[in-house]
């Protein structure tokens, strides 16, 4: 990766790397159009295509192009990429409800198999709000408080694995907090709210900790700017998550106006 950029073939490399992202957008739009043809289904909403496309774009910006290049030497750019890849992209992609789209596009027999898979113990365990929070926030603690951050810049494989983990754990966490898909194992709003607050606290504490104790190879000045970006950027995206969680809660407890008043 480092070499590819040094000798000028960086553009070709970036183009190759952007292919899966473009494919993801293409497949999503294709699935939407195909499933729209089915007479008993409602039209797949336009805003979901928009969420999906911007979400994929956010994830792409974090790993391809100028921001990704800068992130290898600049902790602030790294943190910006992290916010895009681990928080904003997952939020937008979860809102696009890709599992629902796949389920309505696939033939019934294949859809049944997928539903069966989604109900498995494995999915149940990792999508539990607490384990999703540990994978997400715990993973960040491991990344920034051990040698991993330093090692990530030495080895391409570790680099790729860390980024895949940040994205997947962010997606899992968002999915476990706001239910936009037919999730098999549901937890109450209050339960998710409490877990969410603790996870958010874990994120904030880590940000402030990084301000004072930067990872190896990061200057004090960059660590200060990066940790503040992590703190306030995280708060901004989490405010949207909290808003959606509360809105779903509010809608779910809509009083039934047909029931006469108790007093």
């Amino acid at each position: 990766m480092h070499e590819a950029h040094a000798d000028g073939s960086g553009l070709l490399f970036d183009l190759t790397l952007s292919f899966p992202f473009l494919l993801a957008i293409g497949l999503y739009i294709g699935a939407g159009f195909v499933s729209n043809r089915s007479p008993h289904l409602q039209k797949w909403p336009t805003w979901r295509y928009v969420c999906w496309s911007i979400g994929v774009l956010c994830a792409g910006l974090a790993v391809i192009g100028p921001l990704a290049d800068q992130a290898r030497i600049d902790f602030r750019a790294h943190m910006m990429g992290h916010l895009l890849l681990g928080m904003l992209a997952p939020l937008l992609l979860v809102l696009a409800a890709p599992v629902t789209l796949v389920l309505r596009t696939l033939p019934v027999s294949a859809a049944k198999k997928l539903t069966f898979l989604l109900k498995s113990t494995y999915v149940r365990v990792i999508s539990h709000p607490i384990s999703a929070s540990i994978l997400n926030i715990g993973g960040l603690w491991v990344l920034y408080t051990t040698d991993l951050y330093h090692m990530m810049h030495q080895s391409l494989w570790i680099h790729v694995l860390v980024h895949v983990h940040v994205f997947l754990a962010g997606y899992l966490f968002t999915m476990a907090m706001i239910y936009t898909e037919p999730v098999a194992h549901r937890y109450s709003y209050l339960y998710r709210a409490i877990v969410f607050i603790i996870a958010l606290a874990g994120h904030g504490i880590l940000s402030k900790y990084l301000y004072a104790s930067p990872p190896e190879g990061v200057s004090q000045r960059q660590a200060e700017a990066g940790s503040m970006l992590m703190y306030y950027g995280g708060d901004a995206i989490d405010a949207v998550l909290i808003f959606i969680l509360c809105l779903q809660w509010y809608k779910a407890t809509q009083p039934d106006k047909s029931i006469p008043a108790s007093q």
């Binding site: 709210a193 969410f196 606290a201 874990g202 994120h203 504490i205 509360c246 509010y250 029931i259 108790s262």
Partner: protein, 159 residues
């Protein structure tokens, strides 16, 4: 946000109005602290070397809780309104009580005991501490006064 019926009984309504207010009050105080004292005036420091570990954890938990409470408290308010069950005096009492309590905790425990950061980095911080904590006590007292007056009347006002 739990009952499916449109109207809840008055006692329940009062309690919910109070809690909605308390949550929003805590959130509001934390929000003002963050925007005015951290961002605009830049009196508070993001991180102070003297911060204890427990101070860092306490700050993180309170910050996360208050962030959630600001939004959650307003949704609870909307829920009370759609059920025609809002007692505004009880709500404002709750806001003052919540904001005052958070401010007092921040001023005494977090600033002084856990040494998170000081209100302002000047030679003599005592006047700042006094104003900070006294205003917190005034808010708590005003909140309690409002709550006492509402609970005597017993029914929610339609103001």
């Amino acid at each position: 946000m739990s009952s499916k019926t449109l109207h809840s009984d008055p006692k329940h309504t009062l309690k919910r109005s109070l809690w909605s207010g308390v949550l929003f009050g805590i959130g509001l105080a934390a929000f003002i602290d963050e925007t005015i004292f951290h961002q605009l005036l830049r009196w508070h420091h993001f991180y102070d070397q003297s911060t204890t570990d427990i101070g860092l954890i306490s700050d993180g938990l309170f910050h996360a809780f208050s962030w959630f409470a600001t939004i959650g408290g307003l949704f609870l308010l909307a829920d009370l309104k759609r059920r025609y069950g809002l007692s505004s005096k009880q709500w404002w009492g709750g806001v003052l009580l919540g904001a005052g309590s958070f401010q007092l905790y921040d001023g005494i425990i977090q600033h002084k005991l856990m040494r998170l950061h000081q209100i302002r980095y000047v030679e003599n911080v005592i006047p700042y501490d006094l104003v900070w904590n006294l205003s917190a006590v005034v808010m708590i007292a005003a909140g309690l006064f409002l709550l006492k007056r509402t609970s005597k009347k017993g029914a929610p006002s339609d103001a």
